[in-house]
């Protein structure tokens, strides 16, 4: 057929063709370095400074990785914050400082989050409940149960478990390595496996994916289980970092909304089917370097939120312009 003309976008090289993660990371680096130089804290641009920066990305980064899966299939997970609190509290309650309870506690937390993820998935994929409503509700239920029973659920994690959050391996903090491993695994799944390709299909065009023979409902369920699992890992990390969980860890960290924000900043389409975890990692780096810069300037923490909001708006506007002319 007469379709020899090269599509316009293939021939035009320019800003549009630079991958989103590269742009976002460059921006993060620019902000961080500028802040360090302007405030005369050039020592922040050192291995130690950067390690500190990376350390700040771990919890939000983990949640964001999971959130990326939920958003890619066209869903969303608002229950992550409550799940993080639940996991953190449950882990410290079960351990009570006893190292022999580390493994059972972790197993219980993982089982709980897989269950929550499965419930979210069933509500969204099989019952057809709008994901905002479904996951908001499971989150509320978790938070409610947790707050009601917290007086009984006190305790702290085992010292050796806590040490994990502070240890280094080859000069890199263990949590940073943990995030890197999870990011790599998530990238691998999305880019290199059939399951990943199917997730993109389910999010990009659910009806088309079904007609192509994919079991879309299972894919959505799977994405929710992954999102909850990632929140569980973040919860365990926070419990280790803070020695004991409180029922407000997740809520105070705004992990639900901020994880969505970094996913979107990373160029993942909120309606699903486009994006990936590299963007999400870039997004969390941007947030972390903003935080670090504000600390260097000694600026009020609330102003930080203003700038975060502005960044999200700016990013989404830029993507809207970049995508202009697309049929999405």
């Amino acid at each position: 057929m007469s379709v020899n003309a090269t599509p316009v976008a293939m021939t035009r090289r320019g800003f549009r063709d630079v991958p989103v993660p590269v742009v976002v990371i460059a921006l993060a680096a620019l902000i961080y370095v500028t802040a360090a130089i302007v405030t005369g804290q050039a020592n922040q641009i050192s291995a130690a400074g950067l390690t500190g920066l990376l350390q700040r990305t771990v919890a939000l980064g983990l949640v964001g990785l999971g959130q990326t899966f939920a958003i890619l299939v066209g869903s969303i997970d608002l229950s992550v914050a409550a799940l993080i609190s639940t996991v953190a509290v449950l882990a410290s309650y079960l351990m009570q400082g006893d190292p022999s309870m580390i493994v059972p506690a972790i197993a219980a937390c993982v089982a709980l989050s897989l269950g929550v993820g499965a419930i979210n998935g069933v509500l969204v994929a099989y019952w057809g409940i709008n994901p905002l409503i479904a996951t908001l509700s499971t989150g509320l239920i978790l938070q409610g149960l947790l707050s009601a029973s917290f007086t009984f659920l006190s305790g702290s994690v085992a010292p050796s478990f806590q040490a994990l959050a502070y240890q280094n391996l080859l000069g890199v903090p263990l949590p940073v390595l943990l995030l890197a491993v999870f990011a790599l695994a998530a990238w691998f799944v999305l880019a290199k496996t059939r399951f990943g390709a199917h997730l993109y299909a389910a999010g990009g065009n659910p009806d088309g994916a079904k007609l192509a023979g994919l079991r879309v409902q299972r894919l959505v369920l799977g994405a929710h289980v992954i999102a909850s699992f990632a929140a569980c890992v973040a919860g365990l990390y926070l419990a280790a970092r803070l020695q004991s969980g409180t029922p407000w860890i997740g809520r105070d960290g705004i992990y639900d909304l901020e994880s969505i924000a970094i996913v979107v900043i990373g160029g993942t389409l909120l309606s699903g089917g486009k994006g990936g975890v590299l963007g999400t990692i870039a997004g969390v780096l941007l947030f972390a370097s903003l935080d670090a810069s504000f600390n260097m300037f000694g600026v009020d923490a609330f102003l930080k939120q203003v700038l975060r909001g502005a960044i999200v708006i700016a990013a989404v506007s830029v993507y809207a312009v970049r995508n202009r002319g697309h049929v999405a």
Binding site: M1, S2, V3, N4, A5, T6, P7, V8, A9, M10, A191, K192, T193, R194, G196, A197, H198, Y200, A201, G204, N205, D207, G208, A209, K210, L211, A212, G213, L214, R215, L269, G273, K274, H326, V327, A328
Partner: protein, 503 residues
């Protein structure tokens, strides 16, 4: 030869409506079996039953003589039934290769084998005569190219039965012909091909057998030699073809309603045209000729950046649809689902949409009982067939949706109507009704500009034909001109090359 596919006494009901009633259908290896029928006749339902999207209430399906029951499209696909869907089922942000292999990705050591995907995708597209880059993002392709990707996707498996549901609806004539050639080739390879189309010339060109459905029932199945276009259309709608296109205007056209001088933008150059009261001006051209851009410019969607436009003798600025509406332009978009209707709102609210949009901000919603009554009157004038104008417009057939959109514009009483692909994907009976409406609108003293890729429609309906090529108006022809002459201008060639290619 025994049929590859047999469907016996298939029935399927949705709540009270019987979409299929005891339908028998079969298809042999190496034949093209065309299914004709109005929208709502049950063609798509029958194919959804075959493809595993619907489970039949009654009846059985046999593949190679063995009974099958599909619970999910994946089972039908695995059994060798491939369907080219009418609604594009592609992933806009994934590559061509990824789209073709959706759900069938090859792996190597458990990992996606992208090299194999690219190579096989390229080979498939080459078979289709296309050189779309396999790494291109689908969102960057034209509709015709996307349709090709869709076809390549269906051809990925060595299908026993290939179903094509109006595959040429989005293609211009040149691409459609290439597709028809491909179908003959696949037929020779022994594929059983089920083809659904509204384009009669196409049906007669490729069919071995023809089945007509009406109201969910089988009317007849005949060999092509025993069927005529007239017989098919009569069976589909119960009327003769002679009165298919309405009579042209008896009177000379009146004053010019639309006058464009030296207009252009990124896609258009040197547009000079006039449309007078009482006439239908057909705009023909190939896919990227600029005919779509002209329609968008007239409605202020992609405005002209140079030149002058006068409507009713007054110079107007058309920089937004709102300005165009205020200037007296009515617009029927080509992509009805995306640009025409608000699917989840009622038929009545859809008819009221533009009236509400143009009303003063503080006026009452729906502007009260009077405009509701007027909307209902217009809907009845347009013969929109709905149980109740309060029902969701998405439940109506394409033809009825189109009529409801025309009713919307009648509320506004524009001087100029721009129809874009007015009958794309609409069945024959509803087509005739829409042509009559266009003629009636013209006879009431309006000017009609009809942009269409359907050559018989251009030639049969227009009073004058403007043919576009590479963003310019390449020439003008009188209504009823030879299709070949239109094609020649559209292809930008002189001599008979155009006609030869069309054969």
């Amino acid at each position: 030869m025994s049929p590859v596919l047999e469907m016996r006494s298939i029935s399927k009901a949705f709540t009270a409506v019987k979409a299929l009633d005891q339908v028998d259908f079969d298809c042999r290896a190496g034949e093209v079996h065309v299914i004709c029928g109005e929208n709502g006749a049950g063609k798509s339902t029958l194919m959804k039953v075959l493809g595993g999207s619907y489970r039949p209430d009654e009846g059985e399906i046999r593949l190679d003589g063995a009974p099958v029951r599909f619970q999910h499209p994946r089972e039908a696909r695995a059994a060798g039934i491939s369907i080219v869907h009418q609604e594009l089922s592609l992933l806009p942000f994934r590559s061509v290769a990824e789209n073709i292999f959706t759900g069938m990705e090859p792996t190597r050591w458990g990992l996606l084998d992208r090299r194999q995907m690219d190579e096989r995708a390229r080979a498939l597209l080459q078979r289709l005569g296309s050189s779309i880059p396999t790494g291109a993002q689908v969102a960057d392709l034209s509709i015709a190219e996307q349709q090709l990707v869709e076809i390549a996707k269906a051809m990925l498996l060595d299908a026993k039965v290939l179903v094509m549901d109006e595959p040429t609806a989005a293609l211009d004539d040149r691409d459609a012909h290439a597709l028809l050639r491909l179908i003959s080739r696949m037929k020779a390879e022994g594929v059983a091909i089920i083809y659904i189309s509204h384009r009669m010339p196409e049906v007669m060109a490729i069919a071995d057998r023809i089945t007509v459905l009406k109201d969910g029932r089988l009317v007849w199945t005949r060999d092509r030699q025993d069927a005529t276009v007239n017989a098919i259309v009569t069976a589909m709608v119960g009327r003769e073809l002679q009165d298919f296109y309405p009579a042209r205007a008896a009177t000379e056209p009146g004053q010019s309603v639309l006058q464009i001088r030296g207009a252009g933008n990124r896609h258009l150059r040197d547009i000079d045209m006039v449309a007078r009261a009482g006439e239908i001006v057909g705009i023909a051209g190939l896919e990227d000729s600029g005919k779509g851009a002209l329609a968008q410019a007239l409605f202020g969607d992609q405005p002209f950046t140079q030149g002058e436009v006068e409507i009713g003798g007054k110079p107007v600025v058309l920089h937004s649809p709102r300005q165009a509406i205020a200037a007296g332009v009515g617009y029927l978009p080509g992509d009805r689902k995306r640009e025409g209707i608000v699917p989840r709102q009622s038929v009545r609210d859809n008819a009221l949409l533009t009236l509400q949009a143009m009303a003063a901000v503080l006026s009452l919603p729906n502007a009260g009982v009077r405009s509701v009554a007027e909307a209902d009157r217009n809907l009845r004038t347009m013969d929109v067939r709905a149980g109740d104008f309060g029902q969701e417009i998405a439940t109506l057939s394409g033809g009825n949706q189109q009529k409801a959109i025309i009713a919307r514009w009648l509320m506004q009483n524009p001087d100029l109507f721009v129809f874009v692909e007015p009958t794309r994907g609409i069945d024959v009976a509803a087509k005739a009704a829409i042509y009559e409406t266009m003629r009636a609108l013209a006879n009431e003293g309006r000017a009609i500009v009809m942009i269409s890729s359907d050559l018989p429609e251009i030639v049969g309906v227009s009073d004058r034909i403007l043919v576009m090529h590479q963003g310019r108006i390449a020439g003008e022809l009188p209504g009823g001109a030879e299709e070949g002459a239109v094609m020649q201008l559209a292809l930008g060639v002189t001599g008979n090359a155009a006609e030869r290619e069309m054969v």
